[in-house]
C-alpha cells in the first residue's frame, strides 16, 4: 500500500514509483504533503486509500499538539475518538467458527495459545497493543483525516485532547472505561456508561463476552455444512469466498 515516511518531502513521487497502476488521490496526497510539512516529525507513518480516506500515525508525545495544529489548519469539526486493542481475542468468535468451538475458549490450553499471539496492526502500523484513533473533518475543505497514536504499554497514557476539542471529553471517558487508556490532562475522567464499581475494561480483547461463554450461540446451526460442502467442510468454508456463487 502507499505509505510515506516523514523524511520524504514529496510523497507523490515515491508513491507513483511504487505502484503505477494504483488509482491516485491527488487531493489527499496534497493534504498529506501539507500536513507533513505542518506537523514535521510528529507524523510517524501515513496511508492513503484513494478516494476514501487519509490515515496519519502521530507520535504519542505530540498527540495533543497535532490536534491543535490540525484545528488551526481548518480541521475544526471533531468527529470521534476511540481506541483499539490489536491483540487477537483468546476467545475467538465464540461461535464455533474458524477459531474455536463453542465453549472452547474456556479451556486453558486454547486460551493460553492465543493469549501469546502478537498484535497485528492495521493501516499505518504500530508498535503497541493499544492504539487510539480519532477523526477530524474540515467543513471548509470538505475533507477529513483519521489520526492514530500508539499507547505505550507501560503507562497506557495518551495526552488529552480536551483543551483543543471540548467534544473529546466524553469520547475520552468512554475510551478510558472501555480500554483502560489514561488521558493525562482530562478534567473529569470517570465512567460514562458503566456503573462506578464496574471492574475490567469491556472492549479489551481479553475481556470475555460472558453471555457467549455460558451459553452457546443459538445461531450455531448456521455453520452446519451445506449439502454441497459435505466432502470437506473446512476446505469448503475456506474456498467459499472465492466461489462467488449467489444465493
Amino acid at each position: 500500500m502507499s505509505s510515506a515516511d516523514t523524511e520524504q518531502t514529496a510523497p507523490d513521487e515515491t508513491e507513483a514509483a511504487e505502484e503505477e497502476a494504483a488509482p491516485r488521490d491527488e487531493a489527499r496526497e496534497a493534504l498529506l504533503a501539507e500536513l507533513t510539512g505542518l506537523l514535521g516529525d510528529a507524523v510517524v507513518d501515513s496511508h492513503i486509500a484513494p478516494g476514501r480516506e487519509l490515515w496519519l500515525r502521530i507520535d504519542t508525545a505530540q498527540w495533543a499538539r497535532a490536534a491543535e495544529v490540525l484545528r488551526q489548519a481548518g480541521f475544526t469539526y471533531f468527529c470521534f475518538l476511540s481506541g483499539i486493542d490489536w491483540k487477537p481475542s483468546p476467545f475467538g468468535k465464540s461461535e464455533g467458527g474458524s477459531v474455536a468451538a463453542p465453549g472452547a475458549g474456556e479451556e486453558s490450553g486454547d486460551t493460553g495459545a492465543a493469549a501469546d499471539a502478537e498484535p497485528e496492526h492495521g493501516y499505518t502500523g504500530g508498535a503497541t497493543r493499544f492504539q487510539v484513533f480519532a477523526r477530524l473533518h474540515s467543513i471548509k475543505r470538505g475533507i477529513g483525516v483519521i489520526l492514530k497514536a500508539d499507547v505505550p504499554d507501560d503507562t497506557l497514557a495518551v495526552p488529552s485532547w480536551t483543551p483543543v476539542f471540548a467534544g473529546a471529553n466524553w469520547h475520552e471517558r468512554e475510551t478510558w472505561e472501555m480500554f483502560g487508556i489514561d488521558f493525562p490532562g482530562h478534567p473529569d475522567l470517570r465512567n460514562i456508561y458503566l456503573p462506578t464499581e464496574f471492574e475490567g475494561h469491556p472492549l479489551r480483547k481479553d475481556f470475555p463476552l460472558l453471555s457467549r461463554e455460558v451459553k452457546p450461540w443459538p445461531g450455531i446451526v448456521d455453520v452446519e455444512p451445506m449439502p454441497e460442502e459435505e466432502a470437506g467442510d473446512a476446505a469448503a468454508a475456506e474456498g467459499a469466498a472465492e466461489e462467488g456463487d449467489t444465493p
Binding site: 476514501r52 471533531f78 484513533f133 477523526r135 470538505g142 476539542f165 471540548a166 469466498a241 456463487d245 449467489t246
Partner: protein, 390 residues
C-alpha cells in the same frame, strides 16, 4: 452573529455570578435537582443532575448508560449479515438509515457496489426513515411546551410512512432490509403510488405544524434566543446534522461527501438558520422534512430498472483493511469505522452515533439557563437514547 455571542456571554456571566453568589457570599450549596432517568422529557432514560441556584442552573451533568447495550463488543462475535439486525436498533426511529453506512463500509472493503436500482431504493427508504424520525420530533417539541395537538398529528401521519416501510421490508421499526451488495427484495406492487400519496400527506402535516406553532406567541417566547450554540462551539463538540445547520454551518454529508447513494441525481436544498437557538433547530428540521418529501418524489420519478442485488459470495468474508463511512442520518452524522482481518466478522467496529456528540454539549449549554428551558433545550437538540448509549 454578534447577537448570538452577546446572548451567550450574558448567559455565561449569569452562570458565573450564580456560582459566586452561592459559594462565596451566602455559603449555601445550591440545590441538586435530579431529572430522570424516568422522566417524560428525557425521551427514554437520560438522567441529568443539575445544580440550581433558585431557578438558574449552575452546573449540569448528564448521566448516560442506563441503556448501554455494548454494541461495539457484541458485533465482534457476529458475522457481517448478523450485525445488520443489531445496528438498526441504535436509533430506533431512523431504523433504516442506521444500516446504510454499515453496509456501505463493508461494500467499500469488499470492493463491490450495489446496482443502481438498489442504491436509489436505499436512498428513498433512507429519506422515509428521516421523515418518520423527524416527524416525531416536530410533534414532540410541542409537548415540551405544553401543546398537545402537534404530537397527535405527528403520530397520525408518521403511521403512513411506517406502513410504507412495512410494505417494502416487512418491518415497521426494524426493516433489516439492506444486504451487503444490495437489498433483500424489490419494491412491492403499487408501492410507488402509495408513497407519492404519503409524501403529499407529510407535506400537509408540515404545513399544519407550521400554522400551529410558528408565530405562536408561547412557542416563539420559549424557543427564540434559548439555548444558543455558536458555530465554533458546535464544531468542537462535534455537533452534526440539523443541530449544526441551525447554527449556520452549511454542511450536509448527503451533498458534501461522495456517496454511491442517489442524492446527487436530484435537485434539493440544504437548509440552514443563522440563529443557533432552539427555534432555529426546530425550523431547520421542519424544512428538512419538506425537502425529504421532495427528494423522495424526484427519486420515484427517475427510479431506474435493473437488478437489486450485486453478485456476492454466499459466505461473506470482508478483506483485510479499515474503512470509515458516515452518512447524514436524521439525527446527524452516523458512521462506522470497520477494522477487518479478512474474517466473516469484523475485528473491531467503532460506532460513531450522532446523539452522543449532540448531547455532550449539554454541560456547556445548560450553564446559566432556567429550569423550564432545560426541557425545551433537550427537546430541541433531539436525541434518541439508543443513539447515545449504543
Amino acid at each position: 452573529m454578534t447577537a448570538i455571542t452577546d446572548r451567550q456571554q450574558l448567559a455565561y456571566i449569569a452562570g458565573q455570578a450564580a456560582e459566586a453568589r452561592v459559594n462565596v457570599e451566602l455559603e449555601t450549596e445550591g440545590m441538586l435537582l435530579n431529572i430522570g432517568p424516568q422522566h417524560p422529557a428525557t425521551h427514554g432514560t437520560l438522567r441529568i443532575v443539575v445544580q440550581l441556584d433558585g431557578e438558574q442552573v449552575i452546573a449540569a451533568d448528564p448521566v448516560c448508560g442506563y441503556m448501554h447495550r455494548g454494541y461495539e463488543k457484541l458485533v465482534e462475535v457476529r458475522k457481517y449479515p448478523q450485525i445488520n439486525t443489531l445496528v438498526n436498533r441504535i436509533d430506533w426511529l431512523g431504523h433504516f438509515a442506521n444500516e446504510v453506512p454499515f453496509v456501505l463500509a463493508a461494500e467499500q472493503l469488499m470492493e463491490i457496489e450495489a446496482p443502481e436500482r438498489a442504491q436509489w431504493i436505499r436512498t428513498i427508504l433512507f429519506e422515509l426513515s428521516r421523515i418518520a424520525n423527524i416527524a416525531l420530533f416536530l410533534g414532540d417539541m410541542g409537548v415540551q411546551l405544553g401543546a398537545l395537538t402537534p404530537v397527535f398529528f405527528a403520530f397520525r401521519d408518521r403511521e403512513h410512512v411506517l406502513n410504507l416501510m412495512e410494505a417494502a421490508s416487512g418491518g415497521r421499526f426494524h426493516p433489516n432490509f439492506n444486504r451487503i451488495g444490495g437489498l433483500k427484495d424489490d419494491l412491492p406492487k403499487g408501492w410507488i403510488d402509495e408513497t407519492r400519496q404519503a409524501m403529499e400527506r407529510i407535506r400537509r402535516f408540515c404545513d399544519e405544524l407550521e400554522t400551529l406553532l410558528m408565530g405562536n406567541e408561547i412557542f416563539e417566547a420559549r424557543t427564540r434566543g434559548i439555548g444558543v450554540i455558536p458555530p465554533e462551539i458546535a464544531q468542537s463538540y462535534g455537533l452534526s446534522g440539523p443541530n449544526l445547520r441551525a447554527s449556520g454551518v452549511d454542511w450536509d454529508l448527503r451533498r458534501d461527501v461522495p456517496t454511491p447513494l442517489a442524492w446527487q441525481h436530484v435537485d434539493w436544498k440544504v437548509w440552514t438558520h443563522p440563529d443557533g437557538d432552539s427555534f432555529a433547530r426546530y425550523w431547520v428540521r421542519l424544512q428538512e422534512t419538506r425537502e425529504a418529501t421532495r427528494i423522495v418524489d424526484q427519486l420515484l420519478d427517475g427510479l431506474p430498472s435493473g437488478p437489486i442485488m450485486a453478485k456476492v459470495p454466499r459466505i461473506i468474508k470482508v478483506p483485510e483493511g479499515e474503512a470509515w463511512v458516515s452518512t447524514e442520518n436524521p439525527l446527524g452524522e452516523m458512521g462506522y469505522y470497520i477494522v477487518s482481518k479478512g474474517d466473516t466478522g469484523p475485528f473491531r467496529v467503532k460506532i460513531r452515533s450522532a446523539s452522543f456528540n449532540n448531547i455532550s454539549i449539554l454541560p456547556w449549554l445548560l450553564k446559566g439557563v432556567y429550569v423550564p428551558d432545560i426541557i425545551t433545550i433537550l427537546g430541541s437538540l433531539y436525541f434518541i437514547l439508543g443513539d447515545i448509549d449504543r
